[in-house]
Every structure is written in C-alpha cells, then in structure tokens.
C-alpha cells in the first residue's frame, strides 16, 4: 500500500483493517462506532439523571415562589425580600459568624498543617483523627454538650469575674459560643481541604529554595507556601461559609436566629413564599460566590508546557 488516506483511518488514528469492500465500514469499524455511541448514550443518561436530581427540586421550589394561584405568576415573594422583617439581621449575623469561623479555622489549621508537614509528619494521623471527630459526633449531641457546659457556667461562674465574659460569649448580636461550635463543625472538611492542598506541594524543597534566595523561614512560609495554598484556602472558606449559612440545629437549640433559623421560623409563621424566595436567592448567591472564588483561585495561565 503506497499510503494511508485519512478516510482509511479509524477514529483512533490507526489504519482501518481492510478496504477490500469498497470503502464501506467494516464490521469491526461499525463495532467501534457503535461502542462510542453506547458510551455517549451512557454519559448522557448519567448527566440527565444527575441534572434531574438537582434541578427538579430547585425548579419546584422556584415554582412555589412564583405561583400565586389562582391569580397566576407573581414576583411578590421576591419583592417582599427587601421588606420582610428579621431577614437582614439574621443574614448579617450568619455572615459575621461565617467570617469569624473562617478566620479562626485559618488561624487554627494553617499553622497546624504547615507544622505537621515540616516538623512532625508522623503526627498527621493524630491531627487528622482529631479533626475528624466532629463528623462522628451528631450535631444534636454536640449541642446538648454545649448546653450542659453553658448551664454549668451559668451556675458556677456567676460569683466570679469570668461571668461577664461568659455573658459576652452568648451575646445575641455575635454569639462567640456559636462561633466556637461552628469552628468545631468545620474542622473535618477544612482540615482535609487544607491538607490536600498542602500535599500537592513539595513544601520542604520550596521552603529551602526560598531560604536559599534570602527569605527567612517565616517569610518563606508567607511568601511561598501560603500563596500556593490559595485554592485550598478559598475552598475552605467556601465550605465553611456554606456550612454556617445552612446550619440550623445548634443555633436553633441555643436560641439564636441566624439565616437558616430565620427561614424555618418564617415558614412556620406563614411567610412560606418569601422565605423560600430567600432560599432561592441565597442559592444563586452561593453559586455566584463559588464561581468568583474558583476564578480567583487560579489566575495563572493554563497553556500547557511546550518543549
């Protein structure tokens, strides 16, 4: 054969086994195409089922907010978002708590993962197990424990100078006790996210390279390690934000009214369409935030290496 024409190639770029039948697809080639078709159908089915799983409930929720039977379509629920009482304080509290939780989680975990990675890699398992503990403790049990501690403090700290601090920690405008509970609840996912980010780096060599270029160890960590943990840190922030915005059990039992508690209370008080409209808006805002974070997470170019 003098050469192989493009039409005689299979989809994988290999020469077709035979052209003796006048160029018609051979049984083998037809089999390959049929196989590809099957794979595409398979993928499509999975995507469709997944999309239905996520979109149908959201669509139904959306419908609930705009269906004002028997009058028909209405955006009243969305207009009321700006006037409904209690929403903005609740949202503000949740965002404050989220910001505080994110900062505390950073302060707690970033030095820990760096220290474990550089100083005591064998301690990693211990730290991981410790951070995973909140996953196996039901939230209700955690809340019961916090309630017991608060009750004990109330009974025993009253005559002491710590009582004012204790009361401040339960301040409804910024309940530190809730913040601490959220930090504990965020630990499992936050640790894994930061640890995974750290594992992608050759931390020791990067630090040595930075030190070799005149950076002290502390400056090397700030200038080289932290910027390369940016994606992991953003993911941690997002997970923590989502957790705090959606957390209901602890806040409700302890008697605070952040965002999630306000939504449930509003539903119970007959403000169903408005609270659900708020949920829809918060979902969209969360997606938007995720999108912005993912854009900010990797501003570097993506052109592959060329020899």
């Amino acid at each position: 054969m003098a050469g192989v024409t493009a039409s005689a190639l299979t989809t994988e770029g290999r020469p077709a086994p035979s052209t003796a039948n006048g160029g018609r697809p051979t049984g083998s080639r037809g089999g390959v195409l049929a196989g590809l078709g099957r794979i595409r159908w398979g993928r499509g089915s999975v995507l469709l089922i997944s999309a239905l799983y996520f979109l149908v409930p959201i669509g139904a929720t959306l419908w609930f907010t705009v269906d004002n039977s028997p009058q028909g379509f209405s955006l009243d629920a969305y207009r009321q978002i700006f006037t409904v009482p209690g929403l903005w304080p609740a949202l503000q509290l949740s965002l404050l708590l989220a910001a505080g939780t994110i900062v505390l989680v950073y302060l707690l975990l970033i030095p820990t993962v760096v220290a474990v990675r550089l100083g005591s890699p064998r301690l990693r398992t211990v730290v991981e197990l410790t951070c995973t503990l909140p996953l196996v403790v039901p939230t209700i049990a955690l809340t019961a424990g916090i309630s017991d501690v608060l009750r004990w403090c109330n009974d025993n700290l009253a005559p002491t100078p710590f009582y004012a601090t204790f009361l401040y920690a339960q301040n409804a405008n910024f309940p530190v006790v809730l913040l601490l509970a959220y930090v504990v609840m965020a630990l499992p996912l936050a640790f894994r996210t930061l640890d995974a980010g750290m594992r992608t780096l050759d931390v020791r060599t990067l630090l040595e390279a930075a030190q070799n270029n005149g950076a002290s160890r502390a400056r090397a960590i700030v200038s080289v390690i932290l910027p390369n943990l940016r994606s992991a840190m953003l993911n941690t922030a997002f997970i923590t934000l989502a957790l705090v915005l959606g957390e209901f059990t602890v806040a409700s039992i302890l008697g605070y009214v952040p965002f999630a508690v306000w939504i449930v209370n509003g539903n119970s008080a007959g403000q169903g369409p408005v609270t659900v409209a708020v949920s829809i808006v918060s979902l969209l805002l969360t997606w938007l935030l995720l999108f912005v974070l993912s854009l900010g997470g990797d501003r570097r170019g993506s052109t592959p290496a060329q020899q």
Binding site: A209, N212, N213, G214, Q307
Partner: protein, 382 residues
C-alpha cells in the same frame, strides 16, 4: 586513599551575607549574567554527620578552589548531598566546619549565605511566573521592582529563555524549568553555585544540552560550583575535578583524566568507568603480579601479597582469534561493542572493541586474551 591535593587557600575577604540591598544603589550597568564574579574558596573541614545509626559524613575534608567546578560523585547514600546541604545551610554537621573564603559559615542560617542552589526537582515557585521566580531573591533583598525585572530579564536571556518571562512553571518543560531555576540561583550573584543533581529528572537529550549550558555559564561567570551527581559521565564531562565519595568518606579528588587513569582505590576504579577483575598472584617482593601467564609490574599496593585481582579496563584488553578463552556475548554500544569473554579459569571479562572488529568475533569464537602492560590497580581477591 588520596587526599585532596590542592592546598587550602585562605582569603581575607568575608563572604557577603545576604543583607538587604539598598534599592537606591545605582543599578549595575552590566548584565548580572555577564558580571565576572570572583568565585569563593570553599573548605569542608572534618565534617561529620549521623542520622540515627547511619553515618552520612565521616570526617570529610575537601577544598574547592575559586572558580572551579567540582563534582561530588558517589552512589546513593554516600553523603554527597549532605555535604552540599551543609554548604547551603540546610544541614548542620555534628562536628567540623564549612569555610567560605576562610570564614566559618557553619552556623550561618541558609538565607544569609552567599550561595545559589539549583535543586533536583526544579523547585520553582508555582504561583510566580518565570520572571518573578528569577527575581524572587532580589525582592527579598528589597531591590526595586523595575530593577529586579530588568535583571531577571537579563538572566532569562542568559539562560536562553528571553521570551518565557510571563510563563508559569506548569507551562514550561522540565529543561526550561531547570534553566529558570539556574537563572534564579544566579540572580543574587552568589560566589558559590550549588547544583544538586540538577539534570537527573531530564531526558537524555535535554540533559546533554543543559550540561553544556551549565558548564559554559559557570566558566563565563567564574563562579565556584559544587555539583552533586551519581552519574559518572556527567561528572567526568563537566567537572574540573571530581571528588568520589563512599560511605561518608572522600575516596579520591582529582581531575577526571587522573581519576580514570589512576584511581586511588578499588572503589574509585570500579565506580568510575567499567573494570575487569582478573585473578592473579602478587610476587613476594610486591613489584609484579602474575596474571594470565604474564608478569605485570605494579605499584602502590602495600601489604598485598599472594592471591589478588588485577583491575583492567575493558578498552585495554586485546583479543586475537584462537585460544583458550571463548566469546560468550556482546553488547552493541554504537561505535564500539562490548564483548563478554569467558577465560580458561571460568572468569568472565569484558572487552571493548570497535564495532567493526567485534563483528569478526561472534559468540562462541575461541580467542586469546592479552592484558595491557600494567593493570590499573591490584586489589584483594574477591
């Protein structure tokens, strides 16, 4: 064992600690890459270091002369990287000193040493583009942005990547990344350059090119360079001198040609190049060894008597057709072919012939083995 033959040079100049550079200082007019830096004298004095039960360095004494490229060659675990890391400031010796131009830098932290290092794994900072990677050290020294970018661009040009300044490490090939790493190591105009197996992660062709590039730059800059490698070809082709290490000790430090022709120990002889061990007997007076029916003169083998192995290089052995030895195999090496020959006593020997000559001696051919007039070395029988 041969000790380092070069006398230690003590220079009064103090290595410049990496203190902040005054950004108001007038910019250097010449390119940093073309500034003819004066290399420093580096001395390792009685360095010892153990990791648990393992002795990484067992009293290393070595001097690197100004502007010299010295290769630390040895098998894995011989202590060569530990020695390099001590010079960089990443390891502390249990005892001994590291001197740069006569000044003890053993306890000076890594970020204050005047040494640029290229790591085996590139170690470019992933969040910075090539230009910022090169300029990182200048930034740490508070050099102004315009000046450090100017110098980074000059260094990128020096390493042959003038258009790659905006690329991130993941957009560069291994060879390009290592060039950037080299530029970064040179950015602070260090007086000592440390290369920790910088070519081992690259493919053969890139390795060969970069090898020449590094040597050219080193000679152009006149920078004292310590190059760690386990690749003897790399060491022999690049270095002014090669220090062969074994089990934390210096076996020999000499020029590549000397090292190859006159190895001081059997370890060096067998680690550098290929060597045959042919059984022989040293005569009573210790001046000759009887091997394959011939008496060959020897020297430098105090205390060795009786049964020994004569060490002979494959290219120094001659074969003639007919005899009591048999060709048992061959390995094509391009212009030469390595034949495996079984001697009459069952010993196996390697013989390098031109491929043309070797083609006349296929496996099974009876041959006569002729040894050179003098073995490279005589060693205790194994």
């Amino acid at each position: 064992m041969t000790t380092d033959p070069a006398p230690a040079t003590t220079v009064a100049a103090v290595p410049s600690p990496a203190g902040p550079t005054d950004s108001s200082t007038p910019a250097t007019t010449s390119a940093p890459g073309t500034d003819k830096a004066t290399g420093a004298t580096v001395e390792f004095v009685g360095l010892r270091r153990t990791f648990g039960a393992t002795t990484a360095l067992d009293g290393l004494d070595l001097t690197v002369h100004p502007g010299e490229l010295l290769a630390l060659l040895g098998p894995s675990g011989c202590g060569k990287t530990t020695a390099l890391r001590m010079l960089a400031g990443f390891e502390m010796p249990d005892s001994g000193q590291v001197l740069v131009d006569g000044v003890d830098v053993t306890r000076i932290p890594a970020h204050r040493r005047d040494a640029g290092m290229v790591f085996q794994s590139y170690s470019l900072f992933p969040h910075l583009n090539a230009r910022d990677n090169v300029a990182f050290g200048l930034k740490m020294r508070k050099t102004g942005k315009a000046e450090r970018h100017r110098r980074a661009d000059e260094l990128l040009e020096l390493v042959g990547l003038p258009t790659h300044g905006d690329r991130y490490p993941h957009q560069l090939s291994g060879g390009q990344q290592q060039r950037i790493a080299l530029a970064r190591a040179l950015a602070l105009q260090p007086r000592v350059l440390l290369l920790d197996e910088p070519l081992s992660a690259l493919d053969a062709k890139v390795r060969e090119n970069l090898r020449e590039e590094i040597r050219r730059l080193q000679q152009e800059l006149g920078i004292t360079t310590l190059f760690v490698t386990h690749d003897q070809e790399e060491a022999l082709s690049m270095a002014d001198r090669v220090a062969v290490m074994h089990a934390g000790r210096l076996e020999q430090c000499d020029s590549p040609a000397e090292l190859y022709a006159r190895p001081a120990t059997a370890f060096v002889a067998e680690f550098v190049g290929t060597m045959n061990r042919v059984p022989g007997v040293v005569t009573e007076d210790g001046t000759t060894v009887e091997v394959l029916g011939r008496r060959l003169p020897i020297d430098g083998t105090p205390g060795l008597r009786g049964e020994v192995d004569a060490l002979v290089r494959p290219e120094n052995v001659l074969l003639t057709a007919g005899g009591d030895a048999v060709v048992t195999g061959s390995t094509f090496l391009g212009s030469s072919t390595r034949l495996t020959v079984q001697l009459a006593d069952g010993t196996s020997a390697k013989v390098d012939l031109s491929t043309h000559d070797a083609s006349a001696l296929p496996a099974g051919t009876a041959v006569t083995v002729s040894l050179p007039d003098r073995p490279v070395l005589v060693d205790a029988r194994r």
